[in-house]
Amino acid sequence: MLSRTAQNLFWMGRYMERADATARLLEMGHRMSMVPGSSDMDEWRSVALAAGAQDPINGKPHQTAADVIHDLLISVDNRSSIRSCLVQARANGRAIRTALTQDMWEALNEGWRQLDDMAPETSRRNLPTLLEWVKNRTAAFRGASEISLLRNDGYCFLRLGGLIEQADMTLRLLDAKYYVLLPETDVVGGGRDYHQWTSVLRATSALRAYHHVYKGDYNPWGIADFLILNATFPRSISYCHRTIQRFLDDIADHYGERGPCHDTATEMVARLDGVHIEQLFQAGLYDFISDSITANHRLAAEISRQYHF
C-alpha cells in the first residue's frame, strides 16, 4: 500500500475519534454546568484542557462557556475543533478514495458542511442536538468501516490511528480531572464529588458500563481502575494498548518485518500487565498519566517512521 494511503487512513482514524471524544467532553461540560453549586467556568476550562485547547486560541483566553463551545465545536482556528476534525477526516478520505469503501465515503461525506457558517449562539442553543449528530456521524463511519473494509494492512492503519487517539483522549481526560480522583477528595464526599466522578465516566461514555462492572459503587479507585486497567472497556488505556499491539503484530506478520514501534507497543502493554490500581496511586497517578501521554506520542511517531509516512 502507498505510504501516503497509510498516512491518510491513520489520520482519518485519529480525526474521527477526536471529533467523537470532543463531543463527549462537551457533553460532560454541558451537564456539569447544570449541577447546582458548580463554578461554571472551572468546568468548561477543564473541558478545554482535556481537549487540548487550554491555551488561548486566536489570542483570546476562554472567558465564557460560549468561548469554549465555539473553540471546540466550530472554530476554524482550532485544528482540533469538531468541525476541523470532520473537514480534515473528509480531506484524508478524499485524497485516498480508492482505499475507502463506498459506505465509508458516504459516512464521511454526508453533511460534512453542517457546521460551516454556524453562529456561536446557534451552536450553543442547539448543543445537545449537534453533539448527538456528531456522535452519530462518527458511529456511522466506524460502523461502515467495520462492515465493509477489507481486513488488510489498510484496516490496521485506520484502527491504529483511532486507538492512539482514544488512548490519548482518555489520558488527557484523566490529566484534566485527576485531582477529583485523588484520595483526599474521597474524604470530602458529598453530592458534588459524585457528580465529578460520574462526569468523568460520562465523558468516556462509560457510566452504565461502570455500573455493571462495579455495581454502582462510585469511588475514585474504581473509576481510575476502570479507565486505565479494565481490559474489557474499549476506551481504557490497557485495552487501547493491547489492541494497538495486536494490529501492529498483524502488520508485522503480513510484511514480515518488525521495528521500534513494535517494541514500544510491547513495552506499553507490559507496563500495565498485572498492575493493581493501588500501585499506580502509590507510585503517583499524575506521573503515570504524563509518562503515558509521552509514550503514546512517541509510539505514533515511530509508527509513521516505520511505514514511511
Binding site: 505510504s3 478524499r94 480508492t98
Partner: protein, 464 residues
C-alpha cells in the same frame, strides 16, 4: 427524439412511452432524488476560475439519449478508424514525417505546434501507440448524419459519468432495463486495464504494475481519477508517491519501494517531469521522461500526443485516414476554416456573425465566439483578437445540432447535445457501446461543456 416528419424515431419509442406513463411531475421528483444521490456519493466537478463551490455537482438529466443498433455500428466503425489514423499520424510525425513530406499537411502546423514535443522524436512507444484513449466528440447534424466536432488524444475526461449515469438510471428505473435491450457499459474499466497492461514497457518482465497518476484531490477531475483507479483495482498515485532510481520508476509504499511499469497519467505533458519540461512545475516526477525514453516505464497517453488533437490539425484527419489506412473516412468532419490561411481568414472576418470561432489550443468552451448569439460589441472585440493572431483560431459554421429531450421547468423540453465515446487502443481497438452525452441546459445554448452550464445524460445503445 423526433424524426424530420415529427414522429418519434424508432430507437426512442421506449423512452417516449416511459415519459408519458410516468408523467413529468414524478420524473422531476426522481431527478432531485438522483441529484441527492450524486451529492452523497461525491461525484463533483470543479470549475476553474469561477470561484465558489470547488466541488460543484454536474447537472444530470434523467431522460436518456438513445442510439439504435445500426446507427451505433456505423459510428463505431468510424470511431475506430479515426483512432487508428490518429495513432498512425503520431507515430509518423515523431519519426519520418511521411505525411508532411508528401505535402498533405503543412510542416509548420506540426513542427511549430506547441503540443509537438521534439523530445519525443525517434522514441518508439510500445505497440507504436501514443493515444491509448481517444475521445471523439460527435454531433448529429441530420437524421442520418453525424459529424466529428473534435478529437481528444491526451486524457479525455468524463467516462466516469458514462458509468455513474448508467448506475443511477439502473438503480432508479430498473424496469427500463429489464428487457435486456440496452447494451451494458460496465466492461469499460476491465477493457481499460487490459489496454494499459498491453502497453507494458520493454523492461517489464513480470505482470505489469499499472498506476493512475493524478495531480491530486484539488484537480477538477479527481473524482474520476479515483473512481477509475478503484474500478481497475490499481493504485491512485500522486507525483510525490513516485521516484526514480536505477533507471526505473518506484512508488513509496508501507513495505518500501515498489516498481511501476505503466502510468495512466491524468497530468498534462508539461507537468510530468520538471527536468524534461517545465522546470517550475511542482507536480512532476524528476527524471520520469528519461525512464520513459529508455523503456523503463510507459506513459499513457504518450507525451506529445496532443499534437494530433489540436483544432488546426483536426481538419486534416480525413486526409490522415486516406493517407495511412487507404480507406474512405467513415465519419465526416465539420467544415473548418483555418484562420492561419489568408483566404480563410478573410472569409471568416466577413462572416463572423454566422460562424463559431474557436481557439486552436483552447478547450472547455472557453474563449470562443458564437457568432449568431454574440452582440455586435462582442463580435467587434473578437475581430480585433482574431486579426492580432489569426493562426491561433479556426472557424466553423454554426451547426444544425440535433436536440434531445430534457426535463426542464416547463416539462419536457429540447436542448442541444453532443456525444463522446471512449475508444481504447491497445493490441486490439476496443469500444464500449456507450459514451458521454453532454447537454446544453441553457435554452438555445450550443455549448455543452460542464464548465459552461452543461449537463450530462445516460446514453443508450440499443442491442439488435
Amino acid at each position: 427524439m423526433y424524426g424530420s416528419q415529427g414522429a418519434v424515431r424508432v430507437p426512442y419509442e421506449r423512452v417516449a412511452d416511459w415519459i408519458s406513463a410516468a408523467g413529468v411531475d414524478l420524473l422531476k421528483l426522481r431527478q432531485s432524488e438522483a441529484e441527492a444521490i450524486f451529492r452523497r456519493i461525491g461525484i463533483t466537478f470543479a470549475v476553474y476560475g469561477e470561484g465558489g463551490d470547488p466541488e460543484r455537482l454536474i447537472p444530470f438529466d434523467l431522460i436518456p439519449r438513445v442510439f439504435g443498433a445500426s446507427e451505433w455500428r456505423r459510428l463505431s466503425r468510424g470511431i475506430k478508424q479515426r483512432s487508428r489514423a490518429l495513432n498512425a499520424f503520431l507515430y509518423d510525425v515523431y519519426h519520418r514525417g511521411e505525411i508532411l513530406r508528401a505535402g498533405v499537411i503543412p510542416e509548420d502546423l506540426v513542427y511549430r505546434n506547441e503540443a509537438f514535443l521534439p523530445e519525443m522524436v525517434g522514441i518508439d512507444p510500445p505497440g507504436r501507440i501514443y493515444s491509448h484513449i481517444c475521445g471523439i466528440d460527435i454531433v448529429r447534424t441530420g437524421e442520418d448524419q453525424f459529424q466529428v466536432l473534435e478529437d481528444n488524444c491526451r486524457t479525455p475526461s468524463g467516462v466516469s459519468y458514462m458509468l455513474e449515469n448508467r448506475e443511477i438510471m439502473m438503480r432508479m428505473f430498473p424496469q427500463l432495463f429489464a428487457a435486456g435491450i440496452i447494451e451494458p457499459v460496465d466492461s469499460y474499466p476491465v477493457l481499460l486495464k487490459k489496454t494499459l497492461e498491453e502497453a507494458a514497457p520493454m523492461k517489464c518482465d513480470n505482470d505489469p504494475t499499472v498506476v493512475l497518476l493524478t495531480p491530486g484531490s484539488l484537480n477538477s477531475a479527481y473524482y474520476e481519477h479515483s473512481f477509475l483507479a478503484d474500478l481497475m483495482g490499481i493504485e491512485l498515485v500522486e507525483p510525490q508517491d513516485l521516484f526514480i532510481e536505477g533507471g526505473l520508476v518506484w512508488m513509496r509504499t508501507t513495505r518500501g519501494p515498489q516498481r511501476v511499469d505503466v502510468i495512466y497519467r491524468r497530468i498534462d505533458d508539461s507537468f510530468i517531469d520538471p527536468l524534461a519540461f517545465r522546470p517550475d512545475s511542482l507536480l512532476g516526477v524528476p527524471g520520469l521522461f528519461d525512464v520513459y525514453r529508455s523503456g523503463g516505464v510507459t506513459l499513457c497517453s504518450a507525451p506529445g500526443a496532443g499534437v494530433a488533437d489540436d483544432k488546426a490539425i483536426y481538419s486534416f484527419v480525413p486526409e490522415m485516414i486516406r493517407f495511412y489506412l487507404g480507406e474512405k473516412p467513415l465519419l465526416e468532419n465539420v467544415q473548418t476554416w483555418r484562420c492561419a490561411s489568408p483566404e480563410d481568414l478573410s472569409y471568416v472576418l466577413s462572416n463572423l456573425k454566422d460562424l463559431v470561432v474557436k481557439e486552436v489550443h483552447g478547450s472547455g468552451g472557453y474563449g470562443m465566439l458564437i457568432g449568431p448569439h454574440a452582440s455586435k460589441k462582442d463580435i467587434e472585440a473578437f475581430r480585433l483578437k482574431l486579426k492580432a493572431n489569426p493562426s491561433a483560431f479556426i472557424a466553423q459554421p454554426t451547426l444544425e445540432l440535433s436536440t434531445a429531450p430534457i426535463l426542464g421547468d416547463g416539462g419536457v423540453e429540447k436542448r442541444h447535445v453532443d456525444f463522446r465515446p471512449y475508444c481504447l487502443v491497445g493490441r486490439d481497438i476496443r469500444l464500449t457501446p456507450g459514451g458521454l452525452t453532454r447537454v446544453a441546459l441553457k435554452k438555445g445554448s450550443l455549448v455543452v461543456n460542464s464548465s459552461q452550464g452543461g449537463g450530462v445524460k445516460d446514453t443508450w445503445i440499443l442491442a439488435d
